[in-house]
Symmetry: C2
Subunit: 464 residues, 2 copies
């Protein structure tokens, strides 16, 4: 970071921290060396500069003789604040007129408007949180589901950073030893045990692999769980979708193969966002060209699925055919759920025939049209989500910047292994290790560029 | 107020105090005896029950094992709070998911959702502010102009209430004396000097009259200043309106009498909202039926005007004609402004002829088409507003409920005077005085009904 950036940060900044619009109260946040002393000029009630940190004061804000509002002013004295600087929070009446007047008052007194994310950026630059934690703050504000919330909280509280920092620490030790060798290069010594290095690289690679794998799941957390409903024509896919959505989005008809377009909709179940995709009937062979396109689309959708729901008609599906389908689903290596429909119309013999299957695979019996077993079905979605979560590493990567850095790190680690195989010299090895370290450091912000910071914080909202 | 209402207020309430929507932070407000102790159950960091009032504490809010958010919790200990009860304000990340989770947490623990205005209602019932002040809080949140803001601040800080209370105090003294007479009625004494009472009633009536008059102005504060632009056809009214609005709303043409509909638009000048109304050409006699309707409308609009702007063509208006117009305007008893247009095309002789007029009346010279003198014109609007403000009593009535109560009080005072004239007995007089007192008490809420409170606070936003 250039010294220019630090100079910028000598300035005191202000922003509305609460959403715009009419409300009972609004909160304005001011940060910077002069935050308290400037506020003290407008505040009548007591001398704010003589108050301890983390205290709240009632009084009026004045512009000359004119009272702008009765306010509560909270004082945070550096470094015990969000940004690490002096911070003042003004809680005023939630009128846009009053908010404008207060901001104008500060602007007239040498305070400037905060840029998007500038409070959090200052917190990062002042060492209050690392870059991955800062990014989690934005994720937390944007979170709309329990899973996204959990991942953001975990990351904000440093879970992810701790893991990265540990890997980094181990690599740094090796880098140090190898660079020490370089100082003694004429003596041809090896301080860094090459076999230990190989072992370490393997260990780091396996952790990173897990983190990379968690990224798919991380995306699910951010964007919701995609459930693709597949099954033969007339299995009742559209009816099931309607029942799940409680509304008539898909066209339901008695004629096999009615649904040709993929229909999507979102439902929140126990705080988890599910995106359901109904598909055209899955028939292997069809003379109908449009139907064929529908099947192509279905296959594409199945690739995007986080969970595949295979729906079958309990009455008209031979167990043998079902088992074949199960093997095809297993080959996709995705969580899937077998759902037997039309339980309301089924004979006891059919159910008995399915018993063997139920022993090996989870089958949920429902009647989409009679709304039987729907709660059980929803519970099964949640079970799968929890199982996935459990399988994912404790730490989940949700940020594509982190994903990219981890991928790059993985590549550099491969380079190290290749170099060790071909017994390259210590100085070249050191370069590869430095490269791997660089990518890890990028995540936590131990190494950053101005552009990167600019990019990250510009996506924040104003006032944070 | 029934005891039932007080029982309601044993409950602890919660509401989002900041506007809904994504923001850097959101503030939740909890009020009631258990506000702090219940919050303490979810807050990890320190024991909130042992913290002094007006302090802020950083920590995490948990639901069982799960961390919901890192928050700042502010403690206000009764009676030193907005409501007069124990109050907790939680500043959390501005995610609707987190807000929902926190509210759910409190609802599960015996706290209930606050009704609209319930925090302010509690403040009123706990004697933190009177009813007129409480109503001003809602006005303050809704204020959009400097004038509305000033009136609301003044009322919230008790200016209006103080005046009402003083009148009330004086009447109460008399009422007490007259009621004392009743106790000694057999002895036929007069403790209350009737001529002093007449004098007092007159004094109160004159104050109330002023307050009632300020109501028109109070409405202006709330709704903006209506400026009706009148003048002969082709004086340039539409051009002036366009220049003021900086856009082509009115149809401008060279043919006299083009503008037939009243065209309105709003402009904020120095924080004051002005509503400009252009009118059809003011011609006393016209054969054109449509034009005639336009003139009728103009006269109606002039009745609604707060300021009348009389525009005349400097070149084509004889001074004599202008003076006649000025007398007609004076008869309307409204602030008016004479504006001479087409200064760009005028001869020196014409201006000299107008000099006498300028000595007695304020005349602004402009060119609507060349945009000359427009800033001076705007300044004149502001001057008139300030003059009106100055003329209005210090206290301005903006609330129709107060207006109604003052009108009713005025009627009761008339009854007292009539009663005194016809020398009615002390007990009847006492009833009239009680009646006048009742209406004054209604304003400050010294006397209220549940329905009234319900009605007033239901118009508040949730969280206030």
């Amino acid at each position: 970071m250039s010294s220019l950036r630090y100079l910028d940060f000598q300035e005191t900044i202000i922003a509305l921290a609460t959403p715009p619009g009419k409300g009972a109260i609004a909160v304005l946040r001011i940060s910077g060396k002069e935050a308290i002393s400037i506020t003290n000029r407008f505040f009548k009630g007591k001398n704010l500069e003589k108050q301890p940190s983390h205290t709240v004061h009632f009084g009026v804000l004045v512009d000359g003789e004119e009272i702008i509002d009765e306010v509560l002013v909270t004082i945070f004295i550096a470094p015990k604040s969000y940004t690490g600087e002096n911070v003042v929070e003004i809680s005023c009446h939630g009128s846009s007129y009053i908010i404008r007047r207060i901001i104008e008052l500060y602007l007239k007194n040498g305070v400037r408007h905060a840029k998007a994310g500038e409070f959090t950026q200052r917190a990062f630059l002042n060492g209050k949180l690392d870059l991955a934690q800062a990014e989690a703050v934005a994720d937390l504000i944007a979170c709309e589901t329990a899973l996204a919330h959990r991942a953001a909280i975990q990351q904000m509280r440093g879970g992810f950073s701790a893991q990265i920092k540990e890997l980094r620490q181990q690599l740094i030790q090796f880098a140090a030893l190898i660079e020490l060798e370089l100082d003694f290069s004429e003596e041809d010594v090896e301080f860094a045990d090459r076999s230990q290095l190989i072992e370490l690289v393997h260990r780091i690679q396996s952790v990173i692999k897990e983190l990379l794998q968690s990224f798919q799941w991380g995306n699910v957390l951010k964007n919701g769980v995609t459930v693709v409903i597949v099954g033969k024509p007339n299995a009742g896919k559209s009816t099931l979708l309607n029942t799940l959505l409680n509304e008539e989005k898909a066209i339901v008809s008695e004629i096999a193969g009615t649904t040709r377009d993929c229909i999507e909709d979102e439902v929140v179940i126990e705080g988890h966002l599910f995106r359901f995709i109904d598909t055209a009937g899955l028939r292997e062979y069809t003379s109908d060209r449009i139907e064929e396109i529908g099947i192509e689309k279905t296959k594409a959708k199945m690739q995007q699925a986080d969970i595949i729901l295979y729906l079958f008609d309990l009455q008209n599906t031979p167990v043998k055919e079902l088992l074949e389908e199960v093997h095809r689903l297993e080959a996709l290596k995705k969580p899937f759920l077998l759902v037997g429909n039309k339980i309301d119309a089924v004979t006891k013999e059919t159910l008995t025939a399915l018993e063997d299957l139920s022993l090996n695979y989870q089958v949920v019996f429902i009647s989409a049209i009679q709304k039987i077993g729907i709660e059980r079905l929803k519970a099964s979605f949640i079970e799968i989500v929890h199982r996935q979560e459990f399988q994912a590493s404790n730490v989940i990567v949700t940020n594509s910047r982190h994903y990219e850095a981890l991928q790059n790190c993985q590549k550099s680690l491969n380079e190290i292994l290749l170099g060790l195989q071909s017994k390259i010299s210590g100085d070249l090895l050191a370069i590869d290790i430095r490269q791997a370290l660089y990518f890890l450091s990028e995540i936590t912000g131990d190494i950053t560029t101005e552009d990167l910071l600019e990019h990250i914080f510009s996506k924040f909202c104003i006032g944070k």
